[in-house]
């Protein structure tokens, strides 16, 4: 218990980052290189802070920011998701970076460059864990069954997806909306946990951090985002003894993962397991032809 109390803030931060990393992984898995959920994270944090000052309860705030972010994300996705690859990444990056600037110039409504402090609502770590579990459940539903297969087809081969009757545009918009909703939720939670929101904490640094979580963990599954969020959040704690060199170490990990494990640590683990299985199968049988199988 002592260890938990001592590191409670880090645990809470990890849980928020898990939702944020999943928000990026959801779109990457569908082949949509969108970073827009970070923008929705910012909007969610500010909307939550403003609503709480108007007396809204925390649960209502979280439901509202999630739904509104999802709807706005869907509407935003319609024109933006037509873009592909780097162009989409650049457009959503611009969206992420413009929002803090607008908020810095929002006067007393947004607290200007200082942001908003003394948010009057909070959320317990237990409730946060529960929210993360619900998020994981919803996202795991998307990854299983026909939706999981459809999103993989969407990412790997759009013509194939179309010929299989997968409504490519609609699935893209939907993944965009889910990503935005999760971004908004993570933002709302972050404001409640740390009782403050500020434009200085949201920028290119946060974008690369969350992207690194999804890449290091692996974009194939929510589990990769969870692993990535945990590792990236706790790495500074574990590497505290090497001081400023930890940034170098972090960069090194990122490069190694991208070079040798393009599907992240989860992908590498799965590859290792399937390669072991293949060796076992190869030892037992040979691939028969169709006729041999029929007889």
């Amino acid at each position: 218990m002592g260890y938990f109390t001592q590191n409670e803030v880090l645990f809470q931060q990890t849980l928020v980052y898990m939702i944020l990393a999943i928000s990026i992984q959801v779109v990457l898995r569908s082949g949509v290189v969108s970073l827009a959920s970070i923008g929705f994270y910012t909007l969610g944090a500010y909307a939550g802070a403003i609503l709480s000052k108007d007396g809204w309860p925390s649960f209502a705030i979280l439901v509202l920011v999630t739904l509104v972010s999802g709807l706005v994300g869907y509407a935003f996705g319609r024109p933006v998701a037509r873009l592909r690859g780097l162009y989409l990444a650049m457009a959503t990056l611009a969206f992420d970076l413009v929002i803090p600037i607008l908020l810095s110039n929002g006067g007393s409504f947004t607290g200007g460059s200082l942001g908003l402090y003394g948010i009057p609502v909070s959320i317990s770590t237990g409730a946060l864990v529960l929210i993360v579990v619900v998020v994981i459940y919803v996202v795991s539903q998307i990854e299983r069954g026909w939706m999981g297969r459809a999103s993989l087809a969407l990412r790997s081969d759009e013509d194939l997806a179309r010929s299989m009757g997968i409504r490519v545009a609609r699935e893209r918009y939907l993944s965009f909306a889910i990503s935005a909703a999760l971004g908004g939720l993570a933002g709302g939670l972050n404001g409640m946990l740390f009782r403050a929101v500020s434009p200085s904490g949201i920028g290119f640094g946060l974008i690369t951090l969350v992207l690194a979580m999804a890449i290091i963990g692996g974009r194939e599954s929510w589990l990769g985002a969870i692993i990535g969020a945990y590792l990236v959040t706790w790495l500074p704690q574990w590497l505290g003894f090497i001081g400023l060199y930890q940034n170098l170490f972090f960069g090194l990990i990122l490069v190694v993962v991208m070079l040798f494990f393009p599907d992240g640590l989860l992908g590498a683990a799965r590859l290792g397991i399937s390669s072991l299985r293949r060796r076992q199968i190869a030892g037992r049988e040979q691939i028969p032809t169709g006729k041999q199988m029929a007889t």
């Binding site: 297969r149 790997s156 013509d159 010929s163 299989m164 009757g165 409504r167 293949r278 691939i287």
Partner: protein, 268 residues
């Protein structure tokens, strides 16, 4: 009603003056085809003659610049390409397009999911029994399709670990799992051994015997003339011949299209 009118009214698929252009390039020019139910058709032609573009147009992956596409008496020239699967047209591609993240059965389920309609209702989100039943039905359809092409034993394998011929079979199984009325096969036996080709064509013939219509794009003229009831020949985007396979291959314009003047195409 004339004999021709009767044939047209009984047609499963009909194209009327179908054309496809890419910028200034005329890839398919004024092609009119009639495909009747329960028959095997072949589409041949030299490289670059527009065969695959023709299939892409029939499956709406490329837009037609002129003409009409009619399936089961319904004009589908302007429908979304994602709706083609649900009206009963399935296809395979010239290159292998399997997902290495999924096992063989799951790859085939991608086709079977078309039949289930991909419902995303409350049952689905809550993982209820109705959703699980649908998922099981899709797995059953996929397993049946695998059995049909004779590779049930490979259901749990990663497609990337299979031979080229087996991967081709998985692709055909995926298209069969969509339970189409019309199956478009784009060079399904390319890169296969002779015995694998024969086996796959036997599978295609059994599908036709069950009432499916199959249109095969193929380069192996000997094989295509022996299994098809009707052959279409394309050259430079034009349909230059159509009819009984052996008779069509003897036509001078077909001989010229394939190997130039005065030669006999080796299909005997």
């Amino acid at each position: 009603m004339t004999a021709t009118d009767e044939a047209v009214s009984a047609a499963l698929l009909e194209t009327k003056g179908m054309s496809v252009t890419f910028g200034g390039v005329k890839a398919v020019v004024d092609v009119s085809l009639v495909l009747e139910p329960g028959k095997m058709y072949g589409l041949v032609g030299p490289n670059g003659s527009g065969k695959t573009t023709c299939l892409n147009a029939l499956s709406r992956l490329v837009p037609t610049s002129a003409g009409r596409l009619i399936f089961n008496g319904r004009d589908y020239t302007r429908i979304a390409n994602t709706a083609v699967a649900s009206i009963g047209i399935a296809r395979t591609f010239q290159s292998i397009r399997l997902l290495s993240q999924l096992d063989v059965l799951e790859n085939v389920q991608l086709g079977a999911d078309v039949v289930g309609g991909r419902k995303r209702n409350l049952d689905w989100w809550l993982g209820r029994r109705a959703a699980r039943r649908e998922s099981a039905a899709s797995a059953k359809l996929a397993a049946e399709a695998l059995e049909r092409v004779g590779i049930s034993a490979l259901a749990k394998r990663n497609p990337a670990t299979l031979s080229y011929g087996m991967q081709r079979r998985v692709e055909v199984a995926r298209a069969i799992a969509m339970q189409p009325q019309l199956l478009l096969l784009d060079e399904p036996t390319a890169g296969m051994r002779e015995d694998e080709r024969t086996e796959l064509m036997e599978v295609s013939q059994s599908l036709v015997a069950d009432g499916m219509t199959v249109l095969v794009v193929e380069h192996n003229l000997r094989m295509i003339t022996s299994i098809c009831e009707h052959l279409f020949v394309m050259h430079f985007g034009n349909l230059i011949a159509s009819g009984d396979p052996h008779e069509v291959m003897r036509l001078p314009e077909v001989q010229v299209a394939y190997i130039g003047h005065g030669a006999d195409v080796a299909v005997r």
